[in-house]
Amino acid sequence: MRELSLHLLDLAENAVTAGARRVSITVEESPAEDRLTIRVADDGRGLPEEKLRRLEDPFVTTRTTRRVGLGLSLLAAAARRAGGALRVRSAPGEGTEVCAEFRFHHIDRAPLGDVPATIAVLIAGYPTVDFVYRHRIEEREIVLDTRELRAGGEGMDPADPAVADAVARWLRDRLRPPARSKEEDADAQADR
């Protein structure tokens, strides 16, 4: 996968396949601490102990259509390549939480990519599932809860692609770094 946002989409797809009604997607960027964390937690059916132990094995899958499962093995490899690790917590009936940690400045860390596009595709593709997306960049944080969208936007249908598109644009606006003041610009110039 070229971008971490595609891993997020893959993890969320896993969650929905596991019967989740609510999926929370968290991104935490801390360049100052050289850390980037992505996390997907769901309330799906969870994994039995023996599957959990062999999670990164590409030849283990819950699917019955074929015998290969690549998603988590790819993510684990991507995390390890960038000085990080993959952690998974799960129990039958209690949902699953997948957390991948990366060194933010590692040369082999894949770019985060277009997370709003991932969220838009999920909202439009699974209109009956609740998604909570939380993205923290140092001190700044944005939160999108699709239940608020449904409750607050009377008559808004998440299956409508125009809704997902509007949400993606809203997210991109909010994720953009705040404009620097003239003084900060001057400071940055002086630093160079």
Binding site: M1, A117, G125, V143, M156, A162
Partner: protein, 122 residues
């Protein structure tokens, strides 16, 4: 901390009201974008985004877009299945944003199956 405010909701709602009002008819067309790990890695998200844009623009009330997992044809991903009521489903292979737009405009809107990209009839 920016959360969705009432004003944000109002703006999003305004942008979408017209399209939403149109979408209450019965579905005549179902488009499935296959989004397993293989599909996502091959570019299914871009295909889905292009499809959502086309659909929003077309304003048609009878087209449903859904996503699903891998269909077992990983080497031909991204795959898209188009089911038109009363016709045989068509699976398109090696899709990208441009091919998706072409399939949408020619097959779905005009009924011309794009055999160049078709993997199979099901």
């Amino acid at each position: 901390m920016p959360k969705l405010t009432v004003e944000d909701l109002r703006q999003i709602k305004e942008r979408t009201l017209q399209a939403t009002a149109l979408r209450h008819g019965e579905a005549r067309v179902k488009i499935t974008v296959h989004m397993g790990t293989c599909g996502i890695a091959a570019g299914a998200r871009t295909v889905m985004t292009a499809l959502m844009e086309e659909l929003a623009e077309a304003g048609r009330t009878d087209i449903r877009v859904v996503t699903s997992g891998c269909m077992g044809m990983c080497s031909s991903e991204p795959n898209v299945t188009v089911e038109v009521l009363g016709e045989e489903p068509i699976v398109y292979q090696h899709m990208d944003a441009n091919r998706m737009r072409q399939v949408f405009r020619r097959h779905i809107l005009r009924g011309e199956v794009q055999t160049d990209f078709a993997l199979a009839k099901m």
